[in-house]
Amino acid sequence: MTSQPVSGRLRSRSAKLRAAPVGALAIPVVVIAIVAVTYPLLPLSDAGAQSLADGLRPPAWARGGSWAHPLGTDQLGRDVLARLAAGARLTLVIALLGTIASAIPGIMLGMLAGYKGGCVDAVISRLVDAQLALPYLLLAIGIQSVGGRSLTVLILVLALIGWAPFTRVVRAEVLSLRTRPFVLGLRCAGVSTPRLLMRHILPNIAGTVLVMATLQIGTVILAESALSFLGLGVVSPQISWGTMLAEGRDTLVHGWWVAAVPGAAISLLLLSTNLLGDALRTRFDPGNKEF
């Protein structure tokens, strides 16, 4: 009858409810990914084909638009829908690479700091503080203005702005794991540190890391689009949703769709990844609070 504390059962109920649509939330992301991957095979016009006569045609549902260009054309007559699909590729690739590039050093440093403690921890923690004290966009501007606008520099910049949050979170988790009986047992058994970290601690923090990574993708995408918007990120003729936003800057009054479409796409993608991250967070730790 009253064999189980009621509050415990309540929590598992809401956790179940919220965990269910995790799969559903991943759908938009998957769709976009599929579009990005299969782009060359899709029946779309050439993203780079210019046609000044067709410049600034509105989307199909607006006055003056047609289904030949469902989402309209930009000032050079290029089909917005095609560019959107083409841009999806670079946007996603950069998002993934940027997140992975920041996650790997972030996790490594976090594990080191949390596990070793002492001097190592102090140094790494100070580095984290210092990194977080640098406004990310200004730093990115600073580096890119000197280093140039290549993709490599962009990924490196994104890695630079992203590693610190990973380190903070991983460090905290490892700190609490370190005192757990199973870790102490392994240490007594003489297991070497690298093996312990990789084989035993890493799987235990995998959930937290996954949640962080999912949420970090959004930050990376926003950073890339902000940088491209400012003329610093991706360089034309390459297309990313960020560059499309930059192109839409000048045509805002007469061609609102040129900027509205990529922005809406970015928002949609981010909505999905954020919801996904939240759902994952609930799945892995139902008792966790919002932040």
């Binding site: 100070r126 580095l127 503080d129 210092a130 990194q131 977080l132 004290a133 640098l134 406004p135 990310y136 966009l137 200004l138 730093l139 501007i141 600073g142 580096i143 890119q144 203005s145 000197v146 280093g147 140039g148 520099v153 490196l156 630079l160 959004g218 926003l222 689009s225 902000a226 918007f229 400012l230 003329g231 610093l232 936003l245 839409g248 800057r249 805002l252 009054v253 609102w256 900027a259 509205a260 922005g263 970015i266 928002s267 981010l270 909505l271 954020n274 919801l275 939240d278 609070k289 919002e290 932040f291």
Partner: protein
Amino acid sequence: MIGIRLAAILGRAAATLLLAVTIAFLLTRISGDPARAMLGDNATADQLSTMHAQLGLDRPLVAQYLSFIGDLARGDLGTSLRYGEANLDLIVDRSTYSVQLASVAIVIAVLLGVPLGVIAALREGGLVDRVASAAALLGQSIPLFWLGQMLVLLFAVNWGLLPAGQATGVSSLVLPAITLAMLPLAHIARLTRSGMSEVMRSAFVMAARARGLPSWRIVLVHALRSAALPVVTVVGLQLGVLISSAVAVELVFAWPGLGSLATEAVERRDFPLVQAVVVAGAAALVLINLTVDILYTVIDPRVRDGRS
């Protein structure tokens, strides 16, 4: 006791700033040749070496670093190659605009976000809660500068209600401030909600209710004060993020603040100025964190006594 704590906080802030500035210095030197970036790819070797000399880049790295730090200590942020003025003056000048914008934005975010979070927490699962959650999610997913553009389209171009940009008085502040406020609003509302939720479930709140204290008193006097700690943290964090968000938003609204100074500096390849803005941004962030730490000491007596 408080004195020691304050000294410790100040010391840490200074150390962080020094380290941050050092990192910025190293990164900008390592990522390429500032002289080449300024002169373009077609620069001749002569032009490059002249520029190197002018920027002091021909000295060994350590020497550069030392004079960099030395200049900073004296408040000298270098001279803009384009404007020919001291960077510090340029920055201070434009900062007033940014501070204006940022203050209004954060005030909007707090005035709207905190009550929203409180109501959402008190009526968990209710309408306000769900609307606030949805709004918070949107706020985190929409690129701010894009939102700004859309707002300009609607309010300035289509409906002609508000100016599209430039700092021409109070009405021109409205759109940029609202745009900038969106992200902090989302985070503040979320964190207030979770903070309040947790506090309302705590033992001392139940004990206070058992003592017969009225609900309004429990919420406003007891719960809110406890929830204030994480809220202060997130406000500080968001102010820091604001420094970055402001760059793109200022561009969209042609707001003559520090952010647009940075973009102009990049467009004009004014390396000393870019470096100076990065340093100024870091200093501002460190200052904000410092204020948050001090506020913590003020709000929480446990922190004052060195515990918790």
